[in-house]
């Protein structure tokens, strides 16, 4: 029995080769996309899952009302350790972003991202440095480990695991440190670093006023997290009161515990955009599979005419409905299995491209555990969705009816098929309109005025802290001698996503939290930032280096100041005089709104000024770079021996990388969806016209022109398409609104993408259907009728 049914199935596949290929091919493409995205989603949502204590690890964060941060003061760790028996381990660590060279006899590296952590933090994160995790001695000792690449550069011939000495900073500094060995950060962990320094205790000298540390806790299983959160909150406040810190803002502050599982995609101190992107992708992939299933269902039913006779005869010969249902479901299952195998091959084929795009190390083999149970499940679900309905239709044919000879299987099921087609068209329209809208927004990001000029600005990496204008003045004098350098300045951050700190500032009795940026002369000139009122920092006013401040429009608005120039703003124990107001500029990209910001040359509460920026004449850029390189050790003697730089527009461009990535994915997924939908339409039109061959022939014999017949064949599809468009538009509007709302600066939604999507979908449909219809129309009616 099975053998004969298989033969029938295979011979049917062969006879309707194109349709079968579209069916199986479309489904495999969709499944391949699905497999890739499931692997990706799984990867993104399982950061640190390899950690044996994954479920019990939390970061302690602070909710400061205006924003949330994971930075906590260092004494908090000890206090938790002493007062919370339900916490098994308390770790603290601080990232050291100071970039400095390490030098050995064999080579030199610049180490940037060093994690300084205590022993327990290393234990919480399950770190396994070379030679095993060792407890440092006493309070002072730090155990240094470097990543593999650095170790290879510094000690290319190292075989043993003995510590090695390196020079730290410039050669002239004469500082040395022992390197214990290598450490490999798990790329699938939230904790990333180029090197690690492990000590017993950190920040001993720093009290509650120095929130510079991450505090991680590992609780004992079964701990009540809410209660622990409240307890730590009380401990924190008690500690701050004891040190008499910032009483004003205390009542607004609250401690929260954020589980390790959240940190990668949706940290409380941060945003959940990444999480949304990942979930959107997942939904996208499901939609693609749904479209492919609709195709499958529709094509199978549309071909029912050809199978009706078989069903009738089998019933006459003694088969019955359940048996036939099983037969058709088996047949569809086999096609799905084939699609799945093809899909796995496709997924493997496109894996490298996908990994490149998303910067992930996915592989079918590594993801096998999940796929092991997922793929059969998907297979069954797809078979069920795509197979059960057609199987029921096919097996339900009445033999007395179908064996009469002129049976039209389509008649009873046409509204369902039409409904499915409409759904499919709608999804396609959503994607077409989506592409258009995403494109416009990304375009906007590239062309819209950012409020400053990143072009021809060099950002020089440097270890020398230029916190004092008089020290930077000598540097400036030297570089300004180079032909082509227009201006030079230094600041604690460059526009391009780097976060600066924030502090409370008071104007006329109103306190507000402002971002502070510590600058030098010519900061606004170098970046081309426009002044709204007042003036910028100037050497003519001696007091500018002491107590002058410039605020941006948003800050002025925050205080409700109409004419801020000349007013006093107090913060960090200094009474600043506002000398100017600048126009807002988008230093954090388009996603974030401009923060209220204060710029000052003196800021005791600020951060080291390390980022040197030079505005260079475009025509002389290469000459300037060559000169800087040649003269660097003379210009900046205390710095390392290397001249290293970035272009500001490159740095700023990285802010849009995620959007670019999203665009690429969305674009690919959309094209796939539209492609599969068109493929389905193509096959559907092919079947429909072949089913109507006799009708077309008769109409032509009776005198219909080719055009009339083409119009007839197209019109039913065009109606469905119109309905699909009308259904899709509101959905597109909602989705686009939601996505655009994640940008502080965005394009306005116009009717253009909607209308365009309608026109494109209409064109696609007419071309697809006409391709098929023309063939049927051109057939010789006499031949067709004789054949019938």
């Amino acid at each position: 029995m099975f053998k004969l049914n298989l033969k029938i199935a295979l011979r049917n596949l062969k006879r309707n080769f194109v349709i079968s290929m579209i069916n199986i091919g479309g489904l495999s493409i969709a499944l391949a996309a699905f497999i890739l995205i499931v692997l990706y989603v799984n990867y993104e949502t399982s950061y640190d899952k390899h950690n044996p204590n994954y479920e019990n690890i939390y970061i302690v964060g602070r909710d400061l009302k205006d924003f949330k941060t994971n930075f906590t003061p260092p004494p908090l760790a000890e206090i938790i350790e002493q007062n919370c028996p339900e916490v098994a381990l308390v770790g603290k660590m601080t990232p050291s972003n100071l970039e400095f060279p390490l030098i050995s006899d064999a080579g030199r590296i610049y180490i940037k991202n060093t994690m300084v952590m205590n022993f327990n933090a290393a234990k919480i994160f399950d770190l396994h440095p070379q030679g095993g995790l060792k407890q440092p001695q006493g309070e002072i000792e730090r155990l240094y480990y470097l990543n593999e690449a650095s170790m290879r550069t510094l000690f290319p011939n190292k075989k043993d695991s003995m510590p090695e000495l390196v020079l730290m900073g410039g050669k002239t500094l004469g500082l040395t440190a022992p390197i214990q060995g290598k450490i490999v950060p798990n790329p699938h962990s939230n904790l990333q670093f180029d090197g690690v320094a492990i000590g017993n205790n950190l920040g001993v000298a720093e009290g509650f006023g120095f929130p510079n540390y991450y505090t991680y806790i590992q609780v004992k299983p079964g701990t009540d997290i809410k209660a622990l959160e409240a307890k730590i909150d009380r401990l924190m406040k008690a500690g701050m009161i004891k040190e008499k810190i910032d009483m004003g803002s205390l009542k607004n502050e609250r401690v929260f515990l954020d589980p390790l599982a959240n940190l990668h995609l949706k940290p409380q101190a941060g945003n959940d955009t990444n999480y949304k992107v990942v979930m959107a992708l997942f939904i996208l992939s499901m939609l693609i599979v749904v479209i492919a299933c609709i195709n499958f269902t529709n094509l199978t039913i549309a071909q029912a005419n050809k199978r009706a006779k078989e069903v009738g005869i089998k019933k006459v010969l003694g088969s019955y409905r359940q048996l036939l249902t099983m037969q058709f479901i088996t047949e569809i299952l086999i096609q799905c299995v084939l699609s799945m195998l093809l899909a796995l091959m496709l997924a493997e084929l496109f894996m490298p491209t996908f990994n490149n795009l998303f910067e992930v190390p996915l592989s079918l083999a590594a993801g096998a555990e999940e796929l092991y149970w997922m793929l059969p499940l998907i297979l069954l679900i797809v078979t069920f969705i795509a197979g059960v309905y057609p199987a029921l239709i096919l097996s339900g044919f009445k033999p007395a009816l179908v064996l009469k000879g002129n049976f039209e299987a389509g008649l009873q099921t046409s509204w369902i098929r039409k409904g499915l087609l409409v759904v499919q068209f709608s999804i396609a329209v959503i994607f077409i309109a989506g592409i258009l809208i995403v494109n416009r927004q990304v375009e906007y990001l590239h062309t819209e005025d950012t409020g400053f000029e990143a072009n021809q600005v060099l950002v020089i990496k440097n270890q020398m802290m230029y916190n004092k204008p008089e020290v930077f003045a000598t540097f400036r004098d030297k570089v300004m001698k180079i032909n082509g350098v227009k201006s030079a300045t230094v600041a604690n951050v460059v526009p391009g996503g780097e976060q600066t700190g924030s502090n409370g500032y008071t104007v006329e009795g109103r306190e507000a939290l402002l971002d502070f940026i510590d600058v030098d002369y010519d900061y606004f000139e170098t970046l081309g930032i426009k002044l709204k009122s007042g003036r910028t920092f100037s050497k003519e006013f001696k007091s500018d280096t002491l107590n002058a401040a410039i605020i941006n429009e948003t800050a002025a608005a925050k205080y409700g100041l109409l004419d801020p120039v000349g007013k006093t703003i107090r913060g960090c124990n200094i009474d600043y005089k506002i000398i100017g107001v600048i126009k807002d500029f988008k230093s954090q990209g388009f996603e974030a709104a401009v923060q209220p910001t204060i710029y000052a040359m003196k800021n005791p509460c600020g951060n080291p000024r390390l980022s040197i920026m030079l505005k260079v004449d475009a025509a002389q850029m290469s000459a300037v770079l060559a000169a800087l390189k040649a003269q660097w050790s003379g210009i900046n003697r205390l710095d390392g021996e290397d001249f290293r730089y970035d272009f500001l527009d490159d740095l700023y461009g990285r802010l849009f990388k995620k959007q670019e990535q999203l665009k690429a994915v969305f674009f690919t997924a959309s094209m796939l969806t539209v492609f599969i939908a068109v493929l389905g339409l193509f096959a559907f039109a092919k079947i429909m016209t072949s089913n109507r061959r006799k009708e077309i022939a008769v109409r032509k014999v009776l005198g219909a022109s080719d055009f009339q017949v083409l119009k007839l064949l197209n019109s039913s599809f065009l109606w469905m398409l119109l309905i699909a468009n009308v259904l899709a538009w509101p959905l597109v509007y909602l989705l686009a609104r939601t996505w655009l709302d994640t940008f502080a600066y965005r394009v306005e939604l116009s009717v253009v993408p909607f209308a365009l999507a309608g026109v494109i979908s209409l064109l696609l449909a007419v071309i697809t259907v006409s391709l098929q219809a023309t063939k049927a129309v051109q057939a010789n009616p006499a031949a067709v009728l004789k054949h019938e």
Binding site: K309, K315, V316, L317
Partner: protein
């Protein structure tokens, strides 16, 4: 063998109701060859479909060797059908994707005949039907007469007690038609009961008895060739 009483069948469509069978009473004895004749649309095919359990009547009784068939459910009907009945259609109704051999083999598979026996049975009937050299062909590669012979072979291979034939010669020229009729007669002589619908009095002449239908009634019965048995 067959006793049909007061059979009624009504087709309901959106616009009208058609009474296709309107109180049919009819008996068929074992070993008989009965022809059913009548004008187009009088309900011949409907009657045959009901007798073949392919269609359900609204009311009446249909006894086959004292079993009431109208009370059976779907599964029992198909079981009964495959064990006792064979069909021949005007438009042959062979499965296009199966070869001649496979088409004939299909009912045996449904009757769960073991593979080895199956092969022997199919080969035997292929020989009898004179289509040996065609057994690997697909239906499209055969002439109409050859296709109908395959259809007859498929109806006979399970050795059914009753063969139902709906205009078996309707699509054939007279010489091919005669071949098929001779086959049916031969079969009848070996003891198979046959009920055949036909428009051709020539074909009806091969049978023992002719039943005339009009508007869903039996209007007359005629015994053929002087067969003497008493029939009601």
């Amino acid at each position: 063998m067959i006793r049909i009483e007061n059979l009624e069948k009504v087709y309901k469509t959106e616009e009208i109701e058609t009474t296709a069978l309107n109180g049919i009473n009819l008996q068929v004895k074992e070993g008989e060859f009965v022809s059913i004749m009548g004008p187009s649309g009088c309900g011949k095919s409907t009657l045959l479909n009901v007798m073949g359990l392919l269609d359900k009547p609204e009311s009446g009784s249909y006894k086959f060797m004292d079993t009431e068939l109208l009370k059976l459910n779907d599964r029992e009907r198909s079981n009964f059908r495959k064990a006792n009945m064979g069909f021949v259609f005007q438009n042959f109704n062979l499965i296009d994707e199966l070869t001649v051999f496979e088409n004939i083999e299909l009912p045996l598979i449904y009757n769960k005949v073991p593979a080895a026996t199956r092969k022997a049975m199919v080969n035997e009937i292929i020989q009898r039907m004179n289509i040996v050299n065609r057994s690997g062909h697909f239906p499209q590669q055969l002439s109409g007469g050859q296709q109908q012979r395959v259809a007859v072979a498929r109806a006979l291979v399970t050795k059914p007690k009753l063969v139902l034939a709906d205009e078996p010669t309707g699509n054939l020229d007279s010489s091919h038609g005669n071949e098929v009729m001779e086959l049916l007669c031969e079969l009848n002589e070996q003891g198979t009961t046959i009920v055949m619908v036909t428009h051709s009095s020539h074909d009806a002449g091969f049978s023992n008895r002719i039943i005339n239908l009009k508007d869903g009634h039996v209007i007359s019965e005629k015994i053929n060739k002087g067969i003497t048995e008493e029939l009601i």
